[in-house]
């Protein structure tokens, strides 16, 4: 599909917009619909579009598989780490109030970190699954 100029040019224009929209959905999940899962899926969709138009080889060059494996685990460690941090600070597991000077700021920080972890892992897992399927019969 990379020989088709229309697809190539439109993909190059629209993939950054998709990634930017994913970041918007991630960080505005507190004030409107959104959050980690939706943002992770949209972020991965940008990369999948790149892989569809330019080939799985180009996608592999853009994202090395070792980095993908690391990022899959990073989000889960971030989420569980927030819980461990609150325990180390003296409170219960995942009690966000202990993270900052007062309850509401602690909740904001905790929810921000937790949703970030979710978004990171979901996007990495979806890109990994797509690469595993699409690259199965590569020569």
């Amino acid at each position: 599909m990379r020989d088709n100029p229309v697809l190539r040019i439109v993909a190059k224009i629209i993939i950054p917009v998709i990634l930017l929209f994913a970041l918007y959905v991630q960080f505005h999940g507190d004030f409107g619909p959104g959050g980690g899962f939706q943002a992770g899926a949209i972020f991965a969709a940008g990369f999948i579009l790149y892989g569809l138009v330019f080939g799985t080889e180009a996608l592999r060059n853009a994202i090395p598989p070792g980095l993908l494996r690391f990022v899959i685990a990073l989000g889960l460690v971030l989420y569980a780490g927030v819980g461990a941090t609150t325990m180390l600070l003296g409170s219960d597991y995942l009690a966000y109030g202990a993270l900052a000077h007062d309850l509401i700021s602690g909740q904001h920080l905790g929810i921000f970190l937790v949703e970030l972890g979710v978004g990171i892992t979901v996007s990495a897992v979806i890109v990994t699954i797509f690469l595993a399927f699409a690259g199965r019969n590569d020569p």
């Binding site: 409107g32 619909p33 899962f37 979901v122 699954i129 595993a132 399927f133 199965r136």
Partner: protein, 117 residues
């Protein structure tokens, strides 16, 4: 969906049974997984329609709104949707490996090859 109180639940049950029928009656493994996803999507519609409140608003708090729709089913179904796609991905990966091992994804072919061993 105020059609006489319970009708929309029955239509959603019809959709669920259609998905269920695809799962149990098709021999092709990929079509079984697609039917499972149809079944799951209709179960989600059933749960979300139980959370709606008459004249309720979207459960995002703002000024001047008193009744909100129930947010709890939304949270549960959000989790369920994501778990569903994870299951689908694993199931499809298994189907690809079965195709490489047996040469076909039709149930009858696979049973025949297993019995002839």
């Amino acid at each position: 969906m105020n059609v006489a109180g319970l009708y929309n639940y029955w239509i959603v049950i019809l959709l669920m049974m259609t998905g269920f029928y695809v799962v149990i009656s098709s021999g092709n493994l990929v079509k079984k997984i697609i039917g499972l996803n149809l079944f799951q999507a209709s179960v989600f519609i059933l749960y979300i329609s139980m959370g709606k409140v008459v004249n309720g608003a979207v459960p995002i708090l703002r000024e001047g709104v008193t009744t909100y729709s129930n947010p709890l089913p939304h949270v549960l179904i959000l989790t369920a949707i994501v778990v569903g796609v994870a299951t689908t991905a694993l199931g499809l990966a298994l189907v690809v490996r079965i195709r490489e091992a047996y040469g076909s994804v039709e149930e009858d072919d696979i049973h025949r090859q297993d019995e002839s061993l």
